[in-house]
Symmetry: C2
Subunit: 351 residues, 2 copies
DNA sequence: GGGCGAACGGCAAACGTTTGCCCGAAATCG
DNA sequence: CGATTTCGGGCAAACGTTTGCCGTTCGCCC
C-alpha cells in the first residue's frame, strides 16, 4: 500500500505548525518571514514525508501554471527542434516548462491547438506557425495571453516577434550568385500567407533591381507550401518559361531539396548547369549531395530570444508591455550546390 | 477591461441551475443525467459567456491531469521527433497532451526531469532515454507512475516497453554483407548501459557465429555514447587492429555517419574499400553520400505503440496491470554504403 | 389511489495551495 | 516606562471543479 502522497497539511502537522507556515517556509520567496529554526524543522518534516509540491493546486490558487505553449507546424520538420531547445533551455531555469502543439500548417488546427493549450492553462505562447493573417493569434491576444511569434511574424505589429534578417540573407545569396556570373536567376517563392514567404520574395525583388540581374515576373514561381514537392514543381514551371536559367534561389531548404531532386530527375546537373540555394540551413543539408549553399539562421537563438521576450512579459505581470521585434542576423554558407554560371551552349554569350 | 474568465458558477447562475448541474451537463460522460432541455440551456449559457473549462481545477479535484510526460535525450536528435509524433497523435484523441523533458543522456538530469514532471502532475510517462539500470525509472515506479519505455528498455521486466527487433535487424545486415562476400566484419557497438547497445552487440555475436564470419573480439569496438565522434573513434580502433577489414557494422546511424566521415578523411572509399551500415534509418541518411544502408525501425509506430500501452494502463485505473513488451519488426534498407567485398590487394584470397 | 422506481437536479464537501489579515510578543524608541 | 514598530506565525477564505448523497417529482402499475 503506497502511503498517499504527503500534503502540505501533513508536513505542517508533523512539524507542529500551521499549514500556512509550512507553505511559507517551503517557498524561497517567503522563507524570510519564518525563523530559521522552525523553517528547518519544516524542511526536515517535508523531507521525511517525501513531500512533493503540488503544482496544480498551487496553480489553481495563483493562476500561474509556469508553463508556456509552443505551437509549431510539425516537430519532424527539422527546423523546429533547435528552436524548441532554445526555448526550453531558456525557460527551464525560471521554473517554466513548455507544452508543444502541432498544427500541420493548418489554420483550423492551429486554432484548436491554441484553444487546448489555453484550457490547459499556460502563461504564455510561442508560435512558430504564424500566418501573416492569423486569426487564432488575434483571438488569443484578446484573452490576454502573452504571445511571441518566432521565425515568422504576423501583420499586426502588436504581437512581439523574433525573425531573421531575410533581406540581407537573400541579398547575400544574390550577390554570391552574381559574383559567380549568374544573371538569369529564378526564384522559388514561399507561400504568400507566411511572413518569410512574403519577406524573402520582396527581398528578391529589391535586390534583383540592384545587381543587374535579369528581372522578370516569369522568373518567379510560387510554392503554396514549404514542401519538397512544391520545390520540384517550381523547378518545372521555371524551366518551362526560362531556357536561359542558370540558378534557382529557393525560399527555404525544403524547397531547395525538392528542386535538387527535380533537377536530378531531368538529368540537369547541379551546380554544373544550374546552381541552387536554400534558406534556413536546417540540419543535414550540409550532408546531402550536392551539399546545399544556403543562408544560415540561428535556430537556437531564435527560440532563446523568443523565450526571453516572453519571460520579460511574464515578469512584468499583467501590465501589457510594448511589443518587441527582434531581427537576428543571418550568414551565407557556401557549399557545393552553387558554382560558376555555365557559358551559353553554342552561340556567343548574350551580352 | 477584460471580463474575468467565466467560471462554471457563472454559467450555472446564468442558466438558473446549480453549479453541479452545469458541471454534469457540460461533461459528455454525465450529460445523460440531465434532461435535454436544461442541458441545452446550460450549453447556451456557456457559449454566451465564452466559458472555458478549467483543466487545472478539474485536475485538482480528480487527480487526473490528462497529461503524460515524454522523456528523451535530445529533441534535436532526429530519432526522436517521429516517436514524439507517434505518441502525440495517439493520445490526442483521448484528450491527453504530452510534456517533453530533455535528459541530454545524463542519468542525473533524467532524475531531475522526471521529478519535475511528477510535480507537474502527469498521469503517465514514456521514457526514450532509459538505461538498462535506470534509477530514475525505478524510483518513479515506486510512486505508482505508469511508465513505458520506448526504443530502449530497462533490465527490470516489470516496466512495459516497446522496442524493435534488434536481433533480426543485425541478422539482416550481416546476411546482406555476407552475400556481398564480406568475411572480416567489424562492429562498432553502442554503449553498454543502453539496451540497444547491449542487444545489438549480442545479436552480432550470435549471428557472427552462424555465418562463417571471422569472429574475434578485436573486431568489436565500443562506443561510449551514440555520437558521431564515437563512430569515428571506433573506426580508428578497428582499422588499427584489423587490416583485412572490409565492412563495419555500426550499432546506430549516428555512429555510422561518424564512421563514414572517418573513412573519408583517411581516403578510404566506401563502399569501394569498406562497406558501412547503420541502424535506425533516421531521417536524411538516405540523402547523404554515400546514402546509408541501414535497418529501418518504425519510429512513429514505436511512439504510437508505447502510447497505446500507456493509454490502456491509464484506462485500467489504479489496478496495476501486467507489464507488456512489444517488439516491432524492422527491415533492412540497402543503399549505397554497402557493396561487394573488395578482393584482397595482391595475394590470393584468404580462403 | 397507494406504492415504487427512475429520472432529475440541488447541496456541500472536498482537492492542496497561497495569501491578506490579524494577533501576541518582542524589540525599539523617545 | 509607555508607545510604537517589527517579527513570527496562526486563521480562514479563496481558486474552479467534481461527485456522493439526498430530496423531489413523475410516470406507472396493480
Amino acid at each position: 500500500m503506497t502511503t498517499k502522497k504527503a500534503t502540505l497539511k501533513d508536513v505542517a502537522k508533523r512539524a507542529g505548525v500551521h499549514v500556512s507556515t509550512a507553505s511559507r517556509a517551503l517557498d524561497p520567496r517567503t522563507r524570510h518571514r519564518i525563523s530559521a529554526d522552525v523553517a528547518a524543522k519544516i524542511a526536515k518534516a517535508a523531507q521525511q514525508l517525501g513531500y512533493r509540491h503540488n503544482q496544480m493546486a498551487a496553480s489553481l490558487r495563483t493562476k500561474k501554471t509556469n508553463a508556456i505553449g509552443i505551437v509549431i507546424p510539425d516537430i519532424t520538420n527539422m527546423l523546429f527542434p533547435p528552436i524548441i531547445r532554445g526555448v526550453d533551455d531558456r525557460i527551464a531555469p525560471h521554473g517554466y516548462i513548455s507544452i508543444i502543439g502541432h498544427t500541420e500548417g493548418d489554420a483550423e488546427r492551429e486554432k484548436r491547438v491554441i484553444e487546448t493549450l489555453q484550457v490547459r492553462g499556460i502563461d504564455g505562447l510561442i508560435v512558430a506557425s504564424a500566418r501573416l493573417d492569423d486569426e487564432a493569434i488575434t483571438s488569443a491576444m484578446k484573452d490576454d495571453v502573452f504571445i511571441v511569434t518566432v521565425n515568422r511574424r504576423v501583420k499586426d505589429e502588436g504581437v512581439s516577434s523574433v525573425v531573421s534578417d531575410e533581406r540581407s540573407g537573400v541579398g547575400a545569396v544574390l550577390a554570391h550568385l552574381v559574383s559567380l556570373g549568374h544573371r538569369h536567376i529564378g526564384y522559388a517563392s514561399g507561400p504568400a500567407w507566411s511572413s518569410t514567404g512574403e519577406a524573402r520574395l520582396s527581398a528578391y525583388r529589391y535586390w534583383a533591381g540592384t545587381h543587374g540581374i535579369v528581372h522578370s515576373e516569369s522568373l518567379i514561381a510560387r510554392a503554396t507550401e514549404y514542401r519538397e514537392a512544391e520545390g520540384a514543381r517550381c523547378v518545372d514551371v521555371l524551366l518551362a518559361s526560362n531556357p536561359k536559367l542558370t540558378a534557382i534561389v529557393c525560399a527555404n531548404d525544403l524547397l531547395a531539396i525538392g528542386a535538387l531532386a527535380a533537377l536530378k530527375k531531368r538529368g540537369i546537373s547541379c551546380p554544373g548547369d544550374i546552381s541552387v540555394t536554400g534558406f534556413n540551413d536546417i540540419p543535414f543539408v550540409d550532408r546531402i549531395t550536392p551539399s546545399l549553399t544556403t543562408v544560415r539562421i540561428e535556430h537556437y537563438q531564435c527560440g532563446s530570444a523568443a523565450a526571453g521576450i516572453l519571460l520579460e512579459d511574464l515578469q512584468a505581470g499583467p501590465v501589457r508591455r510594448e511589443p518587441r521585434h527582434i531581427v537576428l542576423p543571418v550568414s551565407l554558407v557556401v557549399r557545393e550546390s552553387t558554382g560558376p554560371a555555365p557559358k551559353p551552349p553554342r552561340r556567343k554569350g548574350s551580352r
